[in-house]
Symmetry: C2
Subunit: 514 residues, 2 copies
């Protein structure tokens, strides 16, 4: 049984095959939290529902998307859109994707539509690529931690498995060719047949951005061992730092092994539309593209959606002058809220101005440095109506890390409310003496350096250590009052645009006051 | 090697796994014709391109769909549509599907949204159901002939295989419980593990409509042997005969084994929108629905498309008073064109007023009653720019049968042109003495009985047997002149709505005159 399956594992069904039962019983931690959240979502009508800070989704820009997608050019019902078409995507869309990637990845020469495959999301691409490159039980290298769902993506249908490259040592979670070589050697010694390596850049959940030199060294490693390199660049436009250091492998003048380099991107993250289910692959390997063409039948996107997406990618004025700058501004603001809160709580985290999440170290709240303790803490958060992603769901090798999503909220106002609530839970967690006796980490006092790209460990607030919940809440109230948060949000609150939100917020304050 | 793979089989690729090569090399006859057609489509700008009478697609009603799908209610960009959602379909859509099926299948009590799964097409549903019900190499019974792509649907990803129930004897292609029992016994004797049976009603390619009593007997057979029954009713609203005898299994008061009865439907056929990629499953089996929920991630439909489909299914006035009657009228008219042409040519066919195709017997054009001869005839058609589906691609047990699609044209005008061309090819086929020496079938003279539902064998035109191509063409010209086809289409031709079409038609006539 999978260690994360938990008590909810459904019993064996006589109606399903062994495989069917395996699929049905499959329930990682992310799935469990996600399912509970969907059954009891926090919202205007359900103020005591579960707050989702676990799903890596950007809900900050719905207004911009709503406005653009409601324009008349989005509706165009031409016969080909309603008819059977190229299973790897309509040519008009693949051409648009090629132009888009050529521009935003800064390719040295125009990318070709023939090398583009469109499927209903990158999960489907992972599944189909795994089926085409791997036989059942073959393996794909992946550095840990990583976005945990990839395990199911390559395994559920295609029975390929991931072989982990653990990133221990200092600096934390640093990927090197030596670590890749070490893992590959271990795999070979164990008789595991490794076919490929997955490289995620910008990284989820670390937020790491690998330089062109680093990526080249990883690709040289893949070439040396005749491994396919599956490069996932799905967060490439969600970098919001002052200096954007991201560099797509498609911008490289010469790839070490172009026939074995396959680059994924999609609209779920960078265009905040996971519900549109559009992922893209760029590969010069004709054989892979042909195999994906055959599997594409199971993963294709409706014609009307393909039209919408093509129109969107075509509209450079909107992308460059409206969507991207505003999206980055909002991401940065939300990131600032969360990291300020974490600093206030003394929770160390990796400061990376990219993506929708922060990778934070809650190890000081573990009674023991173990994964079962981490799981206990994760369940504690869930019982307290907050779903996060814990490190073991991402196969992290060190217990205590959590991914906190700051963009899965309709607005910063809502994020503020959620953070208040999260703080309450975290403080209460401390109060109930969950922290381990020898709290070495907590006694560390390192000056935060938010302007740097380094690992950030904040001054601990253990010294506060209030004796009662009352005083904890009092602390929180003080914090809310003393911060400029209310003031900053006063226009939004008083505008009365969403009186329900004000109500919910008031209720949260009330709870804090009780 | 698959017997239908043909000379186009690509060589083994060193970059792909064994499975990847198998997927890439997989190329049934349907695929081959489809690929050639897509590379060289007949159309306004390519009058010498390939005419597609092989793909079961309804292109007769684009005007109605265009009008409805362009209305403002179709555009509604709500946050949930752009966000990650229930992988088995948004609740609003599953509720709409349940209401729709309750009404059009005449279920005795309202169907439930919880039992509905939505995926991007019925091919995906077949794939996911096969994964959930079968382990690799397990089998599913299916009567032959059948829509050939189902082989790939259950096999490509899920490695389940079909076990054929051959429908020989008289009346032709008649399905009985005895034949199902016989096939199951053979499978067991061969050590094959059969998990399910696929029942397609109305049938593709036969056009057979099974009565409630027949379906019940098949379902009783499935229950007796603890087989799942996968009932595919994707053509349920495309019955255009005077008396609509179709009866969904969802209308039955009591199903023999509701936990093992799973009913498929979709919008590809009945709403003529295969490009929208929407298939639905109705099953009371919670375990199956849960397994499909997990696989649904790979097969989900974009939120905006789910909204469009929900709106469409909701609009009963449009469905009942605009779309369905007009669609049926056009299907009937096109069916009439084709069957009249086949009668004129003396090609026997099954007269079934349902679906988009006619199942016709070209065995008299085979030099030998063999599948290699059938394949040769199919290639002969393809070389002459017409793609059809031959029986062996549908695992038919008798050589010489072809499925001819009459609805994969933009209009009846185009169908008329295509039929002229098809007739030319068929007559030329005869002229070149392709027919086998002992032409027993051709000498049959059975009076056509178009009003009955029986097997129709037309009076053969072998007696014409003109000596030269010139006189053949002359025959065709006579036929065009003497028929009311031109007259019937005069308003369309002279309206000048599409001068290109008139041009193409004139060119075809010119070709006939040369």
């Amino acid at each position: 049984m999978h260690p994360l399956t938990g008590p909810q594992t459904p019993p064996h069904s006589k109606h399903l095959s062994r495989r069917g039962n395996r699929i049905r019983q499959h329930q990682g931690i992310l799935q469990e939290g996600y399912t509970q959240y969907h059954a009891d979502k926090h919202g205007e009508n359900n103020p005591n529902g579960i707050i989702n800070m676990g799903t890596s989704e950007n809900k900050l820009c719905h207004d911009l998307l709503h406005k653009r997608l409601s324009q008349p050019d989005m509706v165009q019902i031409q016969p080909p859109m309603l008819q059977y078409a190229d299973w790897k995507g309509h040519r008009f869309l693949r051409e648009e994707v090629a132009r888009f990637l050529s521009h935003y990845c800064q390719s040295p020469s125009p990318l070709k539509a023939d090398n583009v495959v469109v499927m209903n999301g990158c999960g489907s691409l992972f599944s189909a690529i795994a089926a085409a490159l791997c036989d059942p039980e073959d393996a794909i290298l992946i550095p840990t931690p990583f976005y945990g769902v990839i395990t199911e993506d390559v395994g559920l249908y295609s029975s390929a498995r991931l072989y982990h490259v653990h990133l221990s040592g200092e600096p934390p979670f640093h990927l090197t060719v030596e670590k890749l070589e070490g893992a590959l050697n271990r795999a070979k010694a164990e008789g595991v047949n490794v076919k490929a390596v997955i490289l995620v850049n910008p990284h989820n959940p670390l937020g790491e951005i690998y330089s062109a030199e680093e990526m080249t060294s990883f690709l040289e490693f893949a070439k040396k061992h005749e491994l396919h390199a599956i490069v996932d660049e799905i967060y490439m436009l969600s970098v919001f730092g002052e200096r954007n250091s991201f560099c797509s492998v498609l911008s490289h003048d010469r790839l070490p092994d172009p026939q074995r380099t396959h680059v994924m991107w999609g609209l779920s993250k960078d265009f905040a539309m996971g519900g549109m289910r559009v992922g893209t692959l760029y590969s010069e390997n004709r054989h892979l593209v042909e195999a994906l063409d055959h599997l594409g039948y199971f993963h294709c996107v409706s014609g009307t959606t393909q039209h919408q997406v093509a129109r969107l990618l075509q509209d450079r004025a909107w992308i460059d002058w409206e969507f991207l700058p505003e999206n980055r501004r909002r991401l940065q603001e939300a990131h600032h809220y969360l990291t300020t809160e974490l600093q206030g709580l003394g929770v160390p985290y990796l400061h990376r101005p990219v993506g929708f999440f922060v990778w934070a170290d809650f190890s000081k709240y573990l009674r023991q440095p173990s994964f079962s303790e981490e799981l206990e803490l994760w369940r504690h958060f869930l019982r307290n109506r907050v779903v996060l992603s814990c490190g073991q769901a991402f196969s992290c090798s060190t217990p205590g890390w959590f991914r906190i999503v700051f963009a899965d909220q309709e607005s910063c106002l809502q994020l503020g409310q959620n953070l208040c609530f999260l703080s309450l839970v975290i403080r209460e967690t401390k109060e109930t003496e969950r922290h381990r006796p020898t709290d070495a980490n907590c006694s560390q006092t390192v000056v935060p350096s938010l302007s740097s790209n380094d690992f950030v460990v904040m001054e601990s607030q253990v010294s506060h250590s209030p004796a009662k919940l009352d005083s904890l809440i009092d602390d929180l109230r003080q914090q809310i009052r003393s911060s400029d948060w209310l003031q900053r949000n006063t226009p939004e609150l008083s505008a009365g645009e969403d009186p329900k939100q004000l109500e919910v917020f008031t209720e949260l304050l009330e709870r804090a006051r009780k």
